[in-house]
Symmetry: C2
Subunit: 94 residues, 2 copies
């Protein structure tokens, strides 16, 4: 299933700062075509890309990681009746 929101968020950040895809693409070691697709939700963004990506954009890694993880959880599990309990149980074991 396709996820659009997070890529769009990163794209908006990049455009605010007028950074070309070329720079971010280099930081995460893909070409601009792949990066474009990631921003458009046509390719997955993996957790390992978040740090270099945030650095390339000069934005707070913490904020981006939180957005990435929470967005993925919502995307994967939204509407599941016991999601809240599951999240609480993870927090407890951390």
């Amino acid at each position: 299933m396709k996820n659009t929101a997070f890529g769009a968020y990163l794209k908006a950040l990049r455009e605010e700062k007028k950074i070309p895809q070329r720079k971010v693409a280099h930081a995460i070691d893909v070409d601009t075509s792949t990066l474009s697709k990631m921003e458009l939700g046509e390719r997955q963004i993996t957790i390992g890309m978040i740090k270099p990506w945030a650095e390339a954009l000069s934005v707070d890694f913490k904020e981006v990681q939180i957005k990435y993880i929470s967005g993925k959880i919502i995307h994967d599990f939204d509407g599941q009746p016991f999601l809240k309990e599951a999240l609480q149980s993870v927090i407890k074991e951390l």
Copy 2:
């Protein structure tokens, strides 16, 4: 990346109750070979399988869903520095 724990948990439940794979396999509409692989972590178990699976085992759906979701989150994000904050932010928006 491969996840073993959740399949093993379902397998243990099934064996406790002496239910053959055949019955669970029928409930989730795969053959026993696929089911065996799911129990062994060689095939993904998707969220949509949890309810019929729990029913086939006559176990509490709530408990199984919580185990599934929390297991997947741990598997995907364990060790990420801001996981806790991300989970809290999801809980807040629910």
